[in-house]
Amino acid sequence: MPVTSLEDLKAIKEQALAQRAERRADARNDRSVSEIRPPTPKEVRVILARCGVIDPEDIRDYIAEDGYVALMKALTTMTPRQVIDEVLKSGLRGRGGAGFPAGKKWEFAAAQKSDVKYMICNADEGDPGAFMNRSVLENDPHSVLEGMIIAGYSFGAHQGYVYCRAEYPIAVQRVRLAINQARELGFLGKNILGTGFDFDIELRIGAGAFVCGEETALMASIEGRRGEPRPRPPFPAVAGLWGKPTIINNVETLANVGNIIRNGAEWFAQFGTEKSRGTKTFTLAGDVVRTGLIEVPLGITLGEVVYEIAGGIKDGKKFKAIQTGGPMGGCIPEHLLETPLDYESLGAVGSIMGSGGLVVMDEGTCMVDIARFFMDFIQDESCGKCVPCRIGTRRILEILERICAGEGEEGDIEQLERLSKYILAGSLCGLGQGAPNPILTTIKHFRDEYEAHIKEKRCPAKVCKKLIHYRILDTCPGCMVCARNCPSGAITGEKQKVHHIDPNLCQSCGICMSVCKFDAIVVE
């Protein structure tokens, strides 16, 4: 039965609340339970408020938490212009990383005269170390759909697409289910809520190309082509999918829309700073005590996140750097931990907000190796269209590989800086323009590590394989575990006798040290 009034919604809500205890008994979302902890005092749960609380596979449970009330409010009591004004007033900025005001984008698209417009949800969350969009899609998919329908209403789109990456099979399945359930209740399709507004959503799945998170590449992919970015202007809001005005918003941006419409712009603007309003989800990964998903008001400092929310560095080690913004972000050292988490402040220290992945690294991380790791990623994911990005990133990777192998030369650092400048200036999309960030920030803050690799042929963090070797101490009890686990057969020794590593066979993989229960293996 399609929903047509607030009374219908209330009836579903009461019924769902009554049945909730029963439904809770069969806990279907245990994957979310392990990931979403109860909030620490510094956290504010707005986007994540329903995650882990509702059954993501039942639309009635979303309605029980006042879901689709905002859609009802927007469609029955507000004009499209009023919706845009409310979002403008809230100060909501794009949560995909660039931070463009969402209301402004919609305003551009609304001004376009076209009978066909498209609304796209960018769920191609590719940054390694970021999984906040996956969590929202898996645990609260309807909040994203509701945001899309409201956005579509505001600028006159009747067709929406969710572009979700293929690496998230559970998210894909739940979004598909959510679309079907929303259609059954009349939130999607023709004449939504009896208001005469038509809007439908189709789910499209990516195929493992990181660059498709870039908006013009994403549209090319939906059109069934290679996901290569194109120059802007024209911006998608003017000429996007199949040449029609198109708005692309990130999952989290859209998940905020329902809350803004339901509670008002002032309510949303109470969180955050003057220029960066609202809350933002971040994922904490790496060498901290508590990893996982958090949601904080924008403007909180990095130090507060690392020490108060994440509980500091694990195993009593020392903090070295925090990496924000994924592979195109930067590494921020200890003396900048007072930096507030907002769009402008992160930009000022050479990093970006990105989609919100935070990777904390302790003293056991080699910053040259991390730069090499990111460049390996970017080089592999560069679509190849812009020459500076395609060839420049490969040249940078080659230099970094040389440095990590102990074959660095004088002048390498300067060459890296030069190449970075050219790539930044000569690339079309965010991937190329952000590619130099990890190189430039690590050189700026950890130049001594580069110099140790190049001049002394030494890896201070003992990570770079060619510059370290493993040795078994005389305290080895001869349990043979290391010998059994060595992938290259480099460890020999009899039972209950001290073992020995053959340096010619050893690949420095470190498995032996990780499996030794007696701390009898050291790295030098």
């Binding site: 390694p128 069934g224 990893t291």
Partner: protein
């Protein structure tokens, strides 16, 4: 020249199906036809169709690409271009189980490389290869978004988190019997 029977169109030798190619099997060709029939009405259907074929058949060989190009009335280079652009599309068949090692930042820092070394040792093949018994294919993959469970591995569509080299064989044994010293 267009033809309802694709076989009458002259094709280069590289595009002719081997005996074990899905195109050579009437049953699998019918499966491909059904996918095309279901999705080709959608705008931008090529990606959708390729995703479905990859999921149902397991790979997209050159003869299959040629077949698709004919059926969809698009140039073969467009199909080939899309297949080679996206890392999820493979031109060679995979093993029964796909083991994808997450190479995201957290998993990399958390020891994904060690895990790969160990898996290569257990199965005797390198990353990117399929075991001779066609049971497992080892592949690298982009961040699975399971960073708090690093290092993470996706086997088929199941996520396994917090793996260690010495316990990884027990994970693999959930899928197939493995003889190992």
């Amino acid at each position: 020249m267009r033809s309802s029977d694709w076989r009458t169109v002259p094709v280069a030798a590289a595009l002719l199906p081997e005996a074990d190619d899905p195109i050579a099997s009437a049953e699998q060709r019918a499966q491909i036809d059904a996918i095309i029939a279901e999705h080709s009405v959608k705008p931008g259907s090529l990606m959708v169709i390729l995703n479905e074929i990859q999921a149902q058949i397991g790979h997209i060989s050159k003869p299959m690409q040629n077949y698709l190009a004919e059926k969809l009335h698009v140039p073969l280079k467009d199909v080939y271009g899309v297949v080679t652009f996206y890392s999820f599309f493979t031109m060679k068949p995979r093993g029964k189980h796909r083991i994808a090692f997450c190479l995201g930042t957290a998993c990399y820092v958390g020891g994904a490389e060690m895990l790969i070394e160990k898996a290569q040792q257990i199965l005797g093949v390198k990353l990117g290869e399929t075991t001779p018994d066609k049971k497992f294919t080892l592949e690298p993959c982009r961040c699975l978004g399971a960073c708090s469970q690093a290092p993470a591995v996706m086997i088929d569509n199941n996520l396994h988190g917090r793996n260690t080299p010495d316990r990884f064989i027990t994970v693999l044994r959930k899928y197939e019997k493995i003889e190992h010293k």
